[in-house]
Structures are given as C-alpha cells and as structure tokens.
C-alpha cells in the first residue's frame, strides 16, 4: 500500500490462526502536535509503533536560492524566516558571516546589543518550546503561562526594533537601532520578575509525577549516538555532552560573560531521555537571565554600527560561522565571489539533524511517545525545510 511516495510493505503475522496486520497511519502534515508542517508515516501495531518515517519538505521555500538573488543587506529579513521562533540568532549568523568575509570590526556596544537581543530571544524560544511540549503531553495551562511571559519579551523587543517575531534587527557591521532610553531599566525589571516564575513553572509541571513518568526513559539517546547524528544544542546537552558554541568556539562578547552550561543528568530516568532535553532548556533560561543581567549592567557607550558601504561587496572567499541558536549550533557556510550577490549560502540547522534521528529513535515507542519525542527535540518546520 503506497502512501504518496512511500511503498510501505505491510507485515502480516499469522500466530495461532489469527492473522494480524500492521496499521499505517499518516500523522501530519496537518496534525495538532506536529510543530508546523511535518509529516510522519507511522507503521504501528495497535498503539506500539514499528517505525515512524519522517517526510519533510512541505515548508521548503529554498531560502538558500533567494540568498543568491537578493543582495547582502537584502537577505537579512529573510534570515528571520529561517527560524522564526529564534530569529535573532539567524540575523547574528548572517551578520557575522558578512563581517568575517569583509574583515569588519564590530563596535563593542553593538556586540552587547546583539547578545542582549539574542538571549531575550533564546528565552522566548525556550518558553514556546516548553509550553508546547507541556500541551502535547496534555497539560494546557503551562502553555498559556509560558506564552504570557513570552508576550512581555515581545513587547520589550518591539520597543527595541519595531517587530515582535521577524526582527530584522541586526545589520552587517552592527545593529540597526541603539537601545532606546529607559529600555534598560524595563529589561532589568523584567529579568527580576521572570526568574522566580521559572521555579513556579517547574512546580506546576516539570516535576509533576505524571509528566516525569511520561518523559522519563523515553527515546534515550546516548552521547555517542547524538554526536554521530550531529545533534546539537539542548538535544546534545540532554545526552550529557557538555558542549556550547558560546563557550567552546567563543564569538561576540561571550568570553567576558560568566555563565555555565546545564547538562542532562538522567534525574528522572537515564541520561539522554526526553526529560533531560526538556529540563536542560528550563535551566538554560536561568542561565540566559544571568547573562542578561551582566550585559544590561555592563553596557559600554559608543556607536552601535561600523562603517559599511550600502552596496556591500565582500572580497571573494568562503567562511563557516557557527552561532549557538536556541536549537543549537547553527552553521552558516557562506561563499562570496566578490560581487554584490552572495554566491552560495548553506544553513545547517539543529532541527534538520534532530529530524533525521527520529526514525531510529521511534522504533517500538508508543504513538503518544512519538508526540513527546517530537516535542522534546523542539523541532521547527521552517528550520528543517528552509
């Protein structure tokens, strides 16, 4: 029986005269809990899945081809659309690629503005991820609380750069707007207000027995497998690998800031299960608060953008920039041929790798677990298909 491009052979077993048959379900692309347009062809025996074959490409806009058509500055708003849940990191990736190719030195204050905007965006992205994960497991209240806190950050960033989701805040050579007067105090007040709410969220759902029972020991990925499949970010740190681009391949002003890297310790099951990936995100939000406090207090004076020609033509060459996005180490391989249009721009994202491991991880899980696994990888459809 073929399901649009999937010749899935049906296994029939005849045990004790009773012939049973696999059930083939198409979950997605329009399904309440596949985040965005993802599709899985699930071969299941009743509730227990034999295999879930991912089928991607429903949100493929070929952003990499668009990069070759619009110029260096023109591509910046498109980078917001690569991962619209954490757009600041994509802006930062493209800006750093342009700066590294042309050898532009970015002023100190703009680096601080970038880190502040990026860390706020990381909290936003993690809030959406933990909120929708709780909703996939069945609890609706944590989602609205997470979204309510996210709304405050939306307002802050709206005041900073005028947009709530697709920011287009950074430019090659710095940032487009300086911090408005009075914004710093508002941001600090928000961080003070937000930190205790993480503990309240934990009390509400993270250590709830049903929640830990649903997530503990589900889809365990060892450190070796995670590296083998090139998992990155919270998915990698959930498996116990203490690696973070901000600290191991330092960029921007992260070396001057002190923050530590939360790692999965298998407290509710084994290292590398769904709960570890989830709890690493919760703790990363606390770290982001710590970083934000240091950056907001230590904001240096000075210009926020370097002198960059409007018709920007970097010398020919290629560069590989790595940014620690909310979904892990995002690789920007950009090739320039000296003209005003980039020759090639390849974006390697965390969700793409996480999606490729689902087929292996989903063997004899239950359907309800597949939903938990998808949520624990924090997949975002545009990042997979680009």
């Amino acid at each position: 029986m073929s399901l649009t491009g999937f010749e899935v052979e049906i296994q029939r077993e005849v045990d004790g005269g009773l012939s049973t048959e696999d059930m083939t379900l198409s979950m997605g692309p329009q399904h309440p809990s596949t985040h965005g347009v993802l599709r899985f062809v699930v071969r299941a025996d009743g509730e227990v899945m034999k295999e879930a074959i991912p089928d991607i490409g429903y949100l493929h806009r070929s952003i990499e081809k668009i990069a070759e058509k619009v110029g260096w500055h023109g591509f910046m708003p498109y980078t917001d659309r690569v991962d619209y849940v954490a757009a600041m990191f994509c802006n930062q990736g493209w800006a750093m690629a342009g700066e590294r190719l042309a050898g532009i030195e970015v002023p100190k204050r703009s680096e601080y503005c970038r880190v502040i905007a990026a860390e706020f965006n990381r909290i936003q992205s993690h809030l959406l991820s933990v909120g929708s994960m709780a909703m996939d497991i069945g609890a609706y209240t944590p989602f609205t609380h997470a979204l309510r806190e996210r709304e405050y950050i939306n307002d802050l960033i709206e005041e900073l750069c005028g947009a709530r989701l697709t920011f287009n805040y950074m430019r090659i050579g710095g940032v487009a707007w300086d911090i408005p007067p009075g914004w710093r105090e508002k941001a600090l007040a928000y961080v003070e207000r937000f930190e205790p709410l993480i503990d309240e969220y934990n009390a509400l759902i993270s250590y709830n027995k049903i929640y830990t029972e649903r997530l503990g020991n589900v889809a365990v990925i060892t450190a070796q497998e995670a590296i083998e499949y090139n998992l990155v970010g919270p998915n990698l740190r959930g498996s116990g690998v203490r690696y973070d681009v901000r600290r191991d391949e330092p960029y921007s002003v992260y070396p001057e800031l002190d923050f530590d890297i939360p790692v999965g310790t298998g407290e509710m099951g084994t290292v590398g299960d769904c709960f570890d990936r989830y709890i690493v995100r919760m703790r990363e939000m606390k770290e982001s608060c710590k970083i934000l406090r240091q950056c907001l207090q230590g904001l240096p004076p000075g210009p926020v953008i370097a002198k960059v020609a409007r018709n920007f033509k970097p010398p020919a060459g290629d560069c590989y920039v790595r940014v620690e996005s909310a979904r892990g180490d995002m690789g920007w391989y950009v090739v320039s041929d000296g003209t005003a249009f980039p020759h090639r721009c390849k974006i390697r994202t965390g969700s793409f790798a996480a999606m490729s491991i689902i087929q292996k991880v989903s063997r004899n899980l239950m359907i309800a677990d597949l939903i938990a696994v998808i949520a624990s990888f924090d997949l975002v459809a545009p990042e997979i298909d680009r």
Binding site: A139, Y140, T141, E200, I205, I210, A368, I371
Partner: protein
C-alpha cells in the same frame, strides 16, 4: 416518590378508574421529564460555562464574557450552534452504528439520574439496588464510545474507541471495590439509605468513619474521573495525539450529545461522591421543620456539595497532563485495585472490632483533613508571595475582567 403518589391517590385527587401502576408510570415520566429538561440539560451546559471560566482564570485569561452577563449564555449559544451545524456522516462509515452511537451514550448518561438523591423525597426512583444500578448504567457509555470509534472508519477514532473501552471497563473494578466499604457500613445499596446512615456533621460522614473509607474516597474519585474520560485520563479524545479520538468524525447535534454526556457525567461523579462519602443532603433537623423549606435546603446543600467536586474535576483538568495508555492500565491494576482490596478488608475488620465505630478516630480524621487543607493553603500563599504579586495583582472576584492597557 411512591409515598407521594400513594398520598395523592388516597386523597382522591386522582380521577377514579386509573389503575395504580398507571399513576406510578405517569408520575415517574413527569418527574423524569422535569429532571431531564429542567435540570440535566442546563446543568451540562452550565458546567461547560463554569469550566471555561475557571480554565480562563487558571490560565490568567478571562474566558467567555460576550454572550449574556459574564458570558453566562455561552452554553446556550454553543448548543444552538451545534444544533444548526451540518451533521456530516462520512460516506465510508458504518452508517447505522455511526448514527446510533451518540444515543447509546446519552441513554447511559441520563439513565444514571434515576438514582441521584437530590433531596429527602426528591428522587426519581429510590431503587434498593441504587449504587449497583448506577455502575451498570454508566458502563453503557463504553458501548456507545466503542461504537463511535469503530463506525467512524478512521484509524484515529478506532484507537480512541479501543482506549476508552480498556479504560472505562478496567476502572469499573476499583470504583466498584471502593464503594463496597460504604455499602457495608450503611448496610444497604439504596442511595437514600446510605445518606440516611450518615448525619449532617462532618464526623458522622462515611469518609471520616475510619482510615480505610478515607482512602476509599480518594480511590473512588480517581476512578470515577477515569470513567468520565476526564484528565488525567482523557485518552479516548486526546487532542494532541488522536485529534479528537472517537468523536473526530462527528459534527453537529451528534457531537453535542457526546460532549453533553461528558460534562453531565461530571455532575453525576460529584453527586455520587457526595452521596456515598460526604453525607448527601443531610441537614440539622433544627434548621427547618416544615417539609417544603427543609427539602429546598436539602436540595441546595446537596447541589453545593456535588458542584464543589465538579469544580475540583475542572481544576484537575487544567493542571495535570495526560497519562499514557500503558501507564493508565498499570495505575489501575497495580495501584488502585490492590489498595481498594486493602480498604475493603480493612473496613470489614474495623466493623468487626468496633461495631459502633470509634468517635475518636472520626474526629482525628476530621482534624487530619483540616490539617491537609491548611498545608495546602500555606503552599498557595507561598506561590503567591514567590511570584512577588502585590495587592492590586490579586482579585478574589471570580468575574473580574482585564488589567488596564499599557
């Protein structure tokens, strides 16, 4: 109800010649009709409104407030909308079964109201097998859901139907086992009898009679939730996994019937729990001599107690995540059933050792329950203080609307 009819016949108010059984039948139908159309349908509707308002406040939003005062007529609007919506029957569905399923579920739900004791004389039929009849009738809901799951010819609905069959049937066992201690104490299966065995004061209630019935109360409430498909057991229509489970293909009036049964079931859970464990409609005799105000007071008290447990079920739904299918079975067979047996044996031994029960233990259990509530209240205050909320962030008015903008 029977004495009522007998007294009427005796007074000669009934035109002659009508045989006695016809009078009973007419009275039964009349009273049943009143209960269904005046009480059950509005209660099922109002519970949806209460649930959406409580869910709103729990999720720091408002809930429906546009239709009627504070959105009170929202349930009426939803009902009319569902009736007017097109009622689609999928072409490949097993049509007779598909059309029959919601009516099986509704009969199972409405039939349960026969034994619900609203007040002293206010009960449709005080069957002497009361609670047993109720357990049998609620099992009818499973048949309806399984029919719906199978007939929709949709793999997700099939999964939903099979899950609900496993869930409701297996949770009948702990529910049955945990109301047996109460039946042993009261000595009768009849609902009115069970209530009459308890007094109005908390320490005379069955829940505080001995530690085993105290535990039996919690087990009964949890398994009643499972039978009503309420979170954390809403697996049959798990939105995030099975889209809408068994009710995916239903629309229009049939869909309304399914969900009216679910919300109405909430009230039945509250009513049964109040009858069995919390003293039903018992009020101190001194309060009202004349039967009419006494019955009204009894009705009001019973309604308040039952509706508190509806609120608790709603509150649980908006706090807890969903259990997985195999965990649900493990919880039933490895945790609830053994504990229910322990309670059964415990109560039996307790009744042998202390035929009249121990007053001291009853008061002790009351105090321990009060202590639990105290610890809970302290924990709530801790959460409020930790979130650094100030006076004007709080508002105890359940219908309070929005903060000012900006």
């Amino acid at each position: 109800m029977q004495e009522l009819v007998d007294r009427l016949v005796a007074d000669g108010l009934v035109p002659g010649g009508i045989p006695l059984w016809a009078c009973y039948l007419a009275a039964m139908l009349l009273f049943g009709g009143i209960v269904v159309f005046v009480f059950i349908l509005p209660i099922a509707g109002i519970t949806t409104w209460v649930e959406r308002r409580v869910a709103g406040r729990i999720q720091s939003r408002i809930g429906p407030n546009r239709t009627g005062p504070a959105g009170f007529l929202q349930w009426l609007a939803d009902g009319i909308k569902s009736v007017l919506k097109e009622d689609i029957v999928p072409s490949a569905a097993d049509v007779p079964l598909f059309k029959l399923a919601p009516y099986v579920v509704i009969t199972g739900f409405v039939a349960a109201f026969v034994v619900v004791p609203f007040g002293g004389p206010l009960i449709i039929a005080d069957l002497n097998v009361g609670i047993l009849y109720l357990t049998a009738v609620t099992a009818l809901v499973v048949v309806g859901i399984l029919m719906a799951g199978w007939a929709s010819n949709n793999k997700w609905s099939l999964l939903g139907g099979i899950r609900s069959a496993a869930q409701i049937v297996s949770y009948e066992i702990p529910a049955g086992l945990s109301f047996l201690p109460v039946v042993m104490l009261a000595g009768t299966l009849s609902m009115q009898g069970i209530i009459r065995h308890q007094g109005w004061a908390p320490w005379t209630w069955h829940v505080f009679d001995n530690p085993f019935t105290f535990l039996a109360f919690f087990i009964f409430f949890v398994s009643a939730l499972a039978e009503g498909n309420r979170t954390p057991f809403d697996l049959p229509e798990a939105e995030s996994e099975l889209v809408m489970g068994f009710a995916t293909e239903y629309s229009g009036l049939r869909n309304l019937l399914f969900f009216m049964a679910e919300w109405g079931n909430l009230y039945i859970i509250g009513a049964v729990v109040t009858t069995l464990f919390l003293g039903g409609w018992q009020i101190p005799l001194a309060l009202a001599e004349h039967p009419v105000p006494r019955t009204v007071l009894q009705f009001a008290l019973f309604f308040a107690k039952a509706y508190f447990w509806v609120f608790v079920a709603v509150w649980l739904r908006w706090t807890l995540p969903r259990i997985r299918v195999d965990q649900m079975m493990v919880m039933c067979w490895k945790y609830l059933v053994p504990l229910a047996f322990v309670n059964l044996m415990g109560t039996a031994v307790w009744m042998v050792l202390f035929p009249a029960g121990l007053g001291g233990v009853r008061v002790l259990l009351c105090l321990c329950a009060a202590g639990l509530l105290g610890v809970f209240a302290r924990r709530v205050v801790f959460h409020i203080r930790r979130a650094r909320l100030t006076r004007q962030d709080l508002s105890f008015n359940p219908l309070s609307t929005a903060r000012v903008i900006g």
